[in-house]
């Protein structure tokens, strides 16, 4: 199997290289390297949205959780419907704003709208978090799977560097467009692999497995039930919850945490750089809410029931029958991971370059130099990715655990940007800070640090079976609503009003429809993965309106999940098609400017910092400018030179 695996990965690398070279040979403007000319093909974004949603869940991780906890863990996949709704809504408003106010990156969009440098810095921090520890953790796991599958022939660190290099080269050559075109193919590949492997396994292996037989979970785990609404549970590492960890509150908070992937900088950037059309509608409704959620709810449990030993064990079983089928199982685990890694590292680096290097450090860079700089940046980013994945898997895992919940803390800011003009800058920043602290202290990052430095905390990870994203977002929203109430007529309200008035000229919906839509969405959420989901435990097997028992042959919860998945698709359809959020079209309106004009001048503090290190002007500027004298330079002759001061300056002239 090792030989076949290497050949398949080699072919995938050649494929990526081919499209990268084709993109580079287009002869497009150098600036297009960073943003694909703001015109990514609709079909690529349409295929990528579900793959990003699945990446947020982590395909291999989700398989392991379903193997361990059964249908209660599988229930989390309904969250993909929420991801689809959030994706359609957020991308639509950001897309319109990008064209309306000439915004290049998500950081610029939020930063200009709220007139806040802090938000830009937060966005840059998230870029780094997703591009390095989050991606390094995913890459490390994929490399571990490769090592296990090849029986150690390809070691973990070797697999890490092999993957990092094969991802880096196409990204460096092809830029944003080249990367996205390749990732779209991989997304489609995943969509074929999951049902294909399920069908193949069922036909070849046979036997009496799920759904006709119970899933092979550990004793005491309710594999076919949700273990209650909430449990008095101290958190992971403190005690063991009864019947499993996935209560309805755990499911809903985990499902909402998936929306964090839509708030991640690279995903927002993908929406910004898409061509106009129906990509959001098709991608959101049919491919994410429909196909991806359906596959994870209906197909994944069947596959998971057959792999108590994980993906590698199942791959070996199938490889003994048909070697290529074994390779397909490994590809299922690895391709999804590589897709996420390539997407977040490339997107994050390009945003970081545009936001930090081009905006602040070297604002006068020509487009060709921007492209060169971005290529260097990509090389450095992939190098550090390999370094972290190969040598710091534990640190990567700890930091990766907070990536999604922290990104979710941007949700109020994005909602304010797109929909609610009364959400103010101060409220957003206060919410992000406190929400992030809450996240950090309900995840290993904060717990390890605090318990290592001070005393042991009485809670562990995800106390009361509530995901850290749920803890953070609850506090965040509370702070945002309370703070916004007292800053309703703040001085920055004028700019927000101006922006929203312009955005209102591109209305996707009417207010009457919105009210009904949100009422139904809340009702759906309550029953699909909220507290009402416990009804699904026995609703179809022991109906409450009769003494008779239904003989379904499958667990009641599975039917409940399928039913609310289908209703969820209707919900996304309503948002995307009926309310019109899924369509984007080019506007003829005059563009507006948000905030101050673009500066082509590096801020003084950055400029002086740069001079300390590189002394780029050879000291001439300092010689001619006495105001620049306090800046220390690395030339001894200039160190000793006194600033030229006009004789008699500062003396009090006597009156005659």
């Amino acid at each position: 199997m090792t030989f076949l695996l290497v050949i398949i990965f080699g072919l995938m690398f050649v494929y990526a290289l081919y499209f990268a070279a084709q993109t580079a040979r287009l002869g497009s403007k150098p600036g297009d390297f960073l943003n694909a000319g703001m015109a990514l093909p609709s079909w690529s974004v349409m295929f990528l949205l579900p793959a990003i949603g699945v990446a947020a869940l982590g395909l291999e991780r989700q398989l392991l959780l379903v193997t361990r906890y059964g249908l209660q863990a599988s229930h989390v996949a309904i969250g993909l419907v929420t991801v689809a709704v959030a994706g359609v809504l957020i991308w639509n408003r950001l897309w319109v704003a990008t064209r309306l106010a000439s915004l290049r990156t998500p950081g610029e969009a939020l930063g200009r709208y709220y007139d806040s440098i802090a938000l830009r810095v937060i966005m840059l921090g998230l870029c780094v978090l997703f591009a390095l520890p989050y991606s390094a953790h995913i890459l490390s796991q994929a490399a571990q799977l490769l090592e296990t599958a090849t029986g150690g022939t390809i070691s973990r660190s070797m697999a890490v560097w092999m993957c990092a290099i094969t991802l880096a080269i196409p990204a460096i050559i092809g830029g944003w467009r080249g990367t996205i075109l390749v990732l779209a193919m991989q997304a489609l590949f995943l969509a074929v692999l999951l049902p294909g492997i399920m069908l193949f396994g069922e036909v070849v292996l046979g036997g009496d497995m799920f759904p006709t037989s119970p899933m092979p979970t550990a004793d005491g785990i309710f594999w076919d039930r949700i273990p209650g609404v909430l449990q008095a549970y101290g958190g992971v590492g403190k005690n063991v919850p009864t019947g499993g960890i996935f209560t309805t509150i755990a499911i809903s908070s985990t499902a909402i945490s998936l929306v964090g992937i839509m708030c991640s900088p690279a995903t927002l950037y993908l929406g910004q750089t898409t061509k106009n059309g129906k990509a959001f509608a098709v991608g959101g409704v049919w491919l994410t809410g429909g196909l991806a959620a359906g596959l994870l709810l209906l197909v994944l449990p069947v596959v998971a029931a057959r792999m108590p030993d994980g993906l590698a064990g199942y791959a070996n079983v199938l490889a003994d029958i048909v070697p290529l089928a074994g390779v397909a199982v490994i590809l299922l685990g690895v391709v999804g991971s590589l897709l996420a890694v390539s997407f977040f590292v490339t997107g994050g680096t390009l945003i970081l370059f545009s936001e930090l290097v081009h905006t602040y450090l070297f604002p006068k860079l020509s487009p060709a130099k921007q492209r060169f700089g971005a290529r260097v940046g990509l090389g450095i980013a992939f190098f550090f990715l390999g370094l972290m994945a190969a040598f710091m898997p534990f640190v990567s895992a700890v930091f990766a655990s907070v990536a999604l919940p922290l990104a979710l803390q941007l949700l109020p800011a994005i909602v304010g940007f797109g929909f609610m003009r009364w959400i103010s800058r101060g409220a957003v920043l206060a919410g992000i800070v406190l929400g992030s602290l809450m996240v950090i202290f309900t995840e290993p990052l904060g717990l390890i640090l605090f318990e290592g430095l001070f005393v042991e905390l009485p809670w562990g990870r995800w106390p009361l079976t509530i995901h850290s994203a749920g803890w953070g977002l609850t506090l965040n929203l509370l702070i945002v609503f309370l703070s916004s109430m007292v800053t309703l007529k703040g001085p920055d309200r004028y700019q927000r009003d101006r922006f929203h008035n312009e955005m209102a000229a591109h209305p996707p919906t009417s207010m009457g429809r919105q009210g009904l839509l949100w009422a139904l969405a809340i009702l759906w959420g309550f029953l699909a993965y909220g507290p009402g989901a416990v009804l699904g435990n026995f609703f179809f097997s022991d109906p409450i309106f009769t003494d008779l028992k239904a003989m379904l042959g499958v667990p009641s919860l599975w039917v409940w999940q399928s039913l609310f998945w289908l209703l969820g698709v209707v919900l996304v359809w309503w948002v995307a098609y009926s309310a019109g959020f899924g369509h984007t079209h080019v506007s003829e309106r005059k563009p507006i400017r948000l905030g101050l004009p673009d500066s082509t001048r590096t801020p003084d503090w950055i400029k002086s910092g740069l001079k300390r290190v590189v002394n780029r002007n050879g000291g001439d500027e300092i010689e001619g400018d006495p105001l620049a004298a306090p800046v220390r330079v690395l030339r001894s002759d200039l160190e000793t030179r006194q600033p030229r001061v006009k004789p008699g300056r500062g003396k009090i002239k006597s009156r005659k």
């Binding site: 497009s28 079909w43 590949f189 074929v192 193949f200 048909v322």
Partner: protein, 166 residues
Amino acid sequence: MTPRRPVKIAVSDLTTSVQRLDRHALIMAIWTPALFAAAVLFHAGYLYENNWWFVSSFGALIIAFCGHVIANAVLRTGFTAGETALGSTLLVAATLAFLVMILVAPDELVSRLQLPIGLGLGVLVLVVAISMLISFGPRRSFEKFDVVRDNNLRAASRLPHRGGRR
């Protein structure tokens, strides 16, 4: 006052090349997973002596072909010359390989593989023919292969009053 000439907006080569690349990537994205699936299923059929695997394998190719046709319809394009040439070459190569296999392989293997693979290749040709009939109609489909009618290489032969050939 002289009437203003309508401004001709030229479609730049760049835009066209970007669109061409996007379409090419979409077609490749459709075919790559389908080819992998077809390879796995074909291998299973070869090992398992079960004709349903071959049916599934050729089915994967037919699904990809339908995806290609749908992509063409959505993007309002047709099969490019390169795609036609590649498709024809692969089909001819597969048919030749099949014939060689019948000639040189052991009888047992030939008797097992002859029917499913032969039928599969035949169905592929049939699907292409049906798609052409749906897209172009019987007359224009036939004209695609009518080299005798298309033997006048002079540009003037394309003019309507000269018959509008080609």
